[in-house]
């Protein structure tokens, strides 16, 4: 290693470090505000760390607010949404990726069209549809709505995953004695499932709270935990190379 390369490496690392600091700063700020006692929040001015840190916001959020209920609801809704969306969109995405059928062009267009409407525009009609069914103010209703919202995009996502998996694999499975569905379930799906649950699932972890700043930040930190855990677990599947070795590469 020459001196020049050493310097370049150091510079490169520094640049990466600077970027990471920049990207993580809002998160750090979230954490900082969440441990700042309310009395110090506006009195201390802008500081990197409060003179006195406390966990009072966390305590309050967990014991005196509806956060635990919200959190549980969120978990139920996002988990069921993720499961249903994964099943539906993987089947739909597979069909989009592998088959040529009449009207495919229009279906893709329609899927795309659903992504163009702002959420606000749809709230009223959705309420109108769900209320006679008794699905307002229920988790089931929420799951249905989330599924409806997420399936089109997830289908696109799945389609591109399947496009990346060589057709030869299911051809081989079908010659080995599998039906197309068995080939899909035993060969194709295991290669995509882990990689797809991440984006599909993450879409669902969004919640809003109207409490004071410190509590909001504390709730924010807590709400981030599942997403972070999820990301840590799933991280290795995001790296290319899942299908490495299947075909000459």
């Amino acid at each position: 290693m020459t001196r020049k390369r050493l310097i370049l490496t150091v510079l490169h690392r520094l640049a990466v470090l600077a970027y990471v600091a920049f990207a993580l700063f809002p998160l750090f700020w979230l954490l900082k505000v969440s441990v700042t006692p309310t009395s110090l929040l506006y009195t201390e001015g802008v500081r990197l760390w409060p003179s006195q840190a406390s966990l009072e916001h966390y305590k309050f959020v967990l014991t005196h607010s509806s956060f635990p209920t919200f959190f549980l609801n969120s978990t139920i809704v996002s988990a069921s949404t993720a499961v249903i969306v994964t099943i539906v969109s993987s089947l739909a995405g597979y069909a989009m990726s592998r088959f040529v059928f009449r009207g495919k062009y229009w279906i893709v267009g329609l899927l795309l069209l659903t992504q163009m409407f702002p959420l606000v525009m749809l709230i009223a009609p959705m309420f109108k549809m769900l209320s006679p069914l008794g699905l307002t103010n229920s988790l089931t209703g929420l799951v249905i709505v989330y599924v409806a919202f997420n399936v089109p995009f997830a289908t696109f996502l799945m389609q591109s995953f399947f496009d990346g998996i060589p057709k030869d694999l299911e051809d081989a499975a079908m010659i080995d004695g599998a039906t197309r569905f068995t080939a899909f379930r035993q060969i194709i799906l295991p290669l995509t499932l882990k990689a797809t649950t991440f984006p599909v699932g993450l879409l669902s972890f969004v919640s809003k709270f109207s409490v004071d700043f410190g509590q909001m930040m504390a709730a924010g930190v807590l709400a981030l935990i599942p997403a972070c855990l999820f990301f840590l677990l799933i991280q290795r599947y995001l790296v290319q190379g899942l299908t490495a070795g299947a075909v000459k590469g």
């Binding site: 060589p166 030869d168 694999l169 051809d171 081989a172 499975a173 079908m174 010659i175 080995d176 004695g177 599998a178 039906t179 068995t182 060969i187 295991p190 290669l191 190379g241 899942l242 299908t243 490495a244 070795g245 299947a246 075909v247 000459k248």
Partner: protein
């Protein structure tokens, strides 16, 4: 073990025809190679036998059973893909046993079959590895192993050696031939490599433009190519083609040279002819004689075993393959004889062989 009959098979993709009226019957235990340039329809034909492509018209039978509408899984055939198509999330052993598991074979039987196949292919130490931890040659072997554990009615090979480097390809080629000799299963093998076709085949099917050009044993195709396509495709270095017309009992080439018409061949006066002569059949002679030609050496390409000499003759860049070293020097004249019996004559209109 089975015979495969292909009858009047036609295939179109949308409006594009890719196979025209293909007839072929493959005998029990026969090794048939479909060979042709890319886009000739050979892979499509193979995939139709496998059931991976629909049949537009015609009929395919395995052992007299029509299989047009039979799902690939029920055809009892095995296929080796160019990409190997190993299941990446399964070990080598699981890859090989997948088909048997789907058939609900007893566990002991599976272990026995996998063990036997692995032994045959030298895969024993690799059984617990995943495909990505294997080299190209090993993957190829696993793909073969996956095919042979099943004892299928027929083996289909879709350019199985194309992704290997030259040395490994040679080695695997011999291994496939040995395997076929020991198993004796009906095999259909697709390749664009005429050497693979020549070395492996009991019978070669040369295809071009979705049409079968010639069917025959390898030496037939080499010795008596049915048309210009087969003549140019089989053999390396490729056959020389010299254009000329029949004039007054001889063939006059474009540069005005004259070539005697081989015995027993009738040509019409003025008929447009293409003469084919293999580089290895052009003789270099020491002294000019009656009927020999003299030309200057353009280029010399030593290949180690032999030498390819390029000369400008008969209006052509004519290649000569000789085993004698140091016989050709660039820029020096050379005397050349064409053996009448070794010339191939083709009608330039129809491209078909004459005589």
């Amino acid at each position: 073990m089975a015979s495969i009959t292909i009858e009047a098979i036609t295939k179109t993709f949308g409006a594009v025809p890719v196979l025209h009226d293909i007839d072929l019957s493959i005998g029990d235990g026969e090794f048939v190679v479909l060979v042709g340039p890319s886009g000739c329809g050979k892979s499509t034909l193979l995939r139709m036998i496998a059931g991976l492509e629909d049949i537009t018209a015609g009929e395919i039978r395995i052992d007299d059973r029509r299989i047009n509408e039979v799902a690939p899984k029920d055809r009892d055939i095995a296929m080796v893909f160019q990409s190997y198509a190993l299941y990446p999330h399964m070990t080598v052993a699981d890859n090989m046993s997948y088909s048997l598991k789907l058939r609900k074979t007893a566990r002991e039987k599976i272990a026995e079959a996998v063990g036997a196949a692995a032994g045959k292919l030298g895969l024993d130490p690799l059984l617990q590895r995943r495909p990505k931890a294997l080299s190209g040659g090993q993957r190829q072997r696993v793909a073969m192993g996956r095919a042979i554990v099943r004892h299928p009615k027929a083996f289909l090979f879709d350019e199985p050696l194309s992704n290997l480097d030259a040395r490994l390809r040679e080695q695997m080629r011999a291994e496939i031939k040995r395997l076929h000799k020991s198993i004796g299963a009906t095999s259909v093998y697709v390749t664009h490599d005429q050497i693979e076709a020549m070395t492996l085949a009991d019978r070669i099917v040369a295809m071009h433009g979705g049409i079968i050009q010639q069917v025959g044993n390898p030496l037939d195709l080499y010795d008596r190519p049915a048309n210009l396509f087969v003549a140019g495709f089989i053999g390396s270095p490729a056959m020389n083609f010299v254009e000329g017309h029949c004039r007054a009992g001889v063939i006059e080439t474009t540069d005005g040279s004259k070539v005697a018409i081989p015995d027993g061949i009738q040509l019409a006066e003025g008929q447009a002819i293409t003469i084919g002569v293999r580089p290895e059949h052009v003789r270099i002679v020491a002294t000019p004689e009656i009927g020999t030609y003299t030309a200057r050496v353009d280029l010399v390409e030593p290949t180690g075993f032999g030498t390819i000499v390029h000369v400008h003759l008969l209006g052509q860049d004519l290649k000569i393959y000789t085993l004698e070293r140091g016989i050709a020097v660039v820029g020096q004249p050379m005397h050349i004889a064409l053996d009448s019996a070794r010339l191939h004559l083709f009608d330039r209109e129809t491209t078909n062989r004459i005589g």
